[in-house]
């Protein structure tokens, strides 16, 4: 246990859209303002700010954190940017946790922003240079390669079919119909997914989340401040993260061992011994549909190789025994990378508070986990929230 318990006391979220007119700082402001209002706080009440945002190559500004700082409420405050690739959105509140648990701040603003539409004509172009500049980039790799390679390895390991995985996209896109931030919520069928354009076998277009613009914010506070602000604090009781080797092709992609290690770190801190029993609701990162299954296994919410069956059995549906991505996830709400991760933590917060509206899961959940993944199949970031 940290020396100081940390609570979530306010959240804010923009709509996720394909193209925002707002600049990155303007998007950030919208989320921060909403979080301040929800906690009934003023900007001057914020002691420190930490901002998570994925590559500079999306928004198209070197030192993007400095560019966003005015809109993130960082003017004349201690302000820092954290960055663990695609895992950043869930890492941002972990960074905020460090600020508050250490005693450096009593109230910390956590911001996550991404404006991928600036990268023109498509953010894919920014992904060529995620691969090793000398030993891989000359092969002209695309982002989809690495997902297709991982998805096939995962399917091979457990004998899964595309249809088993497409079910995740169907569930999440439908869940998102009830999310006010959703960009591509829709009713689709397994056939729709399987018949959508084959981009990189086995990945179809509808297996993938879209590129998006959006921002999210979350206010974290120390125990005494939180109790003053709310009679229903939601505690950030466990945090974990882990980074695997850069040599991604030298490990078996079928299982995200880095997610497991991150989860173990978070569960240890939160005192969770049997995750599949003690966790009531989960928001694993789902930029691709198979990733949700992959991550459920890494989070030890089920036995390895069983996540697809659980999905088929309806266990992970919003009214199932273990609702997974009741928000609609990246597949349904949209995927402005860092903002998506924080959106997931926000969803757990709202669900535990009983304030998720039409998305509220039954059964009065008390413990939830949100997770993101990042880099070249390397990063796991995990937060455990408790009412």
């Amino acid at each position: 246990m940290g020396k100081r318990r940390v609570a979530v006391v306010g959240v804010g979220l923009t709509k996720f859209v394909r193209r925002a007119q707002e600049t990155g700082p303007e998007l950030s402001h919208q989320a921060v303002k909403m979080a301040l209002d929800s906690a009934e706080l003023k900007l001057k009440d914020i002691d420190m700010v930490t901002l998570g945002t994925a590559p500079d190559a999306f928004d198209g500004v070197h030192m993007k954190g400095e560019y966003l700082l005015s809109g993130a409420g960082g003017n004349n405050k201690p302000y820092i940017r954290n960055f663990v690739g695609g895992g950043t959105g869930v890492f941002a509140p972990i960074h905020g946790w460090m600020h508050v648990a250490s005693g450096a701040a009593d109230i910390c603003m956590v911001v996550a922003e991404e404006k991928m539409s600036s990268c023109h004509p498509h953010p894919q172009g920014a992904f060529l240079t995620i691969f090793d500049h000398t030993t891989e980039q000359p092969l002209k790799p695309t982002l989809i390669w690495i997902f297709a390679l991982e998805m096939r390895r995962y399917m091979e390991a457990y004998g899964l079919k595309g249809e088993d995985i497409a079910r995740v996209a169907v569930k999440n896109k439908a869940n998102a119909l009830d999310h006010p931030s959703a960009q591509i919520a829709e009713k689709v069928t397994i056939e729709d997914v399987m018949n959508s354009e084959m981009l990189a076998d086995p990945v179809h277009r509808l297996d993938i989340s879209p590129a998006s613009d959006g921002a999210a914010a979350m206010i974290l506070a120390s125990e005494d401040v939180a109790k003053r602000l709310t009679d229903k604090p939601i505690w950030l009781d466990g945090v974990g993260w882990n980074l695997d080797t850069s040599y991604w092709a030298t490990k078996d992609l079928y299982y995200p061992r880095y997610v497991e290690k991150a989860a173990r770190m978070a569960y240890d801190m939160a005192g969770i011994k049997e995750p599949s029993k003690e966790i009531h609701i989960a928001e694993p990162y789902d930029p691709f549909d198979y990733k949700e299954l992959h991550h459920m296994e890494g989070l030890m919410l089920c036995e390895r190789g069983q996540a697809a069956q659980m999905t088929a059995d309806g266990v992970t549906a919003r009214d199932g025994n273990l609702p997974v991505c009741p928000s609609g996830g990246a597949l349904g709400v949209g995927n402005p990378i860092a903002a998506t991760g924080l959106m997931k933590v926000i969803e757990i917060y709202l669900q535990l508070k009983g304030e998720a509206g039409k998305r509220q899961v039954p059964g009065d959940p008390r413990v939830g986990v949100a997770q993101a993944w990042g880099d070249l199949m390397q990063v796991g970031t995990v937060t455990v929230l408790r009412r």
Partner: protein, 156 residues
């Protein structure tokens, strides 16, 4: 060094070349759109004005940096301001030397936070900190919604 072998000959030194091949298209944002459309349509500068604390800011913002309220009111501040600082810039963004240095200035407007950064014409009297300067805009029919709709600032 910390290795069993090292590179010990200049001829064995090697490097690998590459680039980050990206392109961008940036929207001007809610406030930026307003700022440049006002230049295009009215030949005027606008500042944003906070509904709560009254703070005015230029370049305009869609939020108040002081109190974080959303800002939807934009007010004219005219084309005349005060030269807060200036510099003769000898190189362009790629590091190429200008044939003649460009003078860049930060121009502040009375009662308004922030300012405009743009080219300044020295004129005959030279430049001084605090002198009054005025923007020279492109002819109305040539403005297209870009920083270059402002040609430069000159002595007012």
């Amino acid at each position: 060094m910390s290795f069993k072998d090292s590179v010990t000959q200049t001829t064995k030194i090697g490097y690998f070349e590459g680039a980050i091949p990206v392109n961008y298209q940036y929207t001007f944002g809610i406030a930026g759109d307003k700022f440049f459309r006002t230049i295009m349509e009215k030949g005027d500068f606008v500042a944003s004005k906070c509904p709560d604390c009254g703070t005015m800011a230029i370049y305009p913002l869609s939020y108040c940096e002081q109190c974080f309220a959303e800002v939807t009111e934009f007010v004219s501040v005219g084309l005349e301001g005060e030269l807060y600082s200036f510099t003769e810039c000898h190189y362009d963004f790629q590091g190429k030397q200008h044939v003649e240095p460009h003078i860049m200035g930060l121009i502040r407007f009375e009662g308004v936070d922030g300012g405009i950064i743009h080219r300044v014409q020295a004129g005959t009297g030279g430049l001084k900190l605090g002198m009054k300067v005025k923007a020279k805009l492109k002819p109305a029919n040539e403005r297209e919604g870009s920083v270059d709709d402002i040609l430069y600032f000159e002595k007012a």
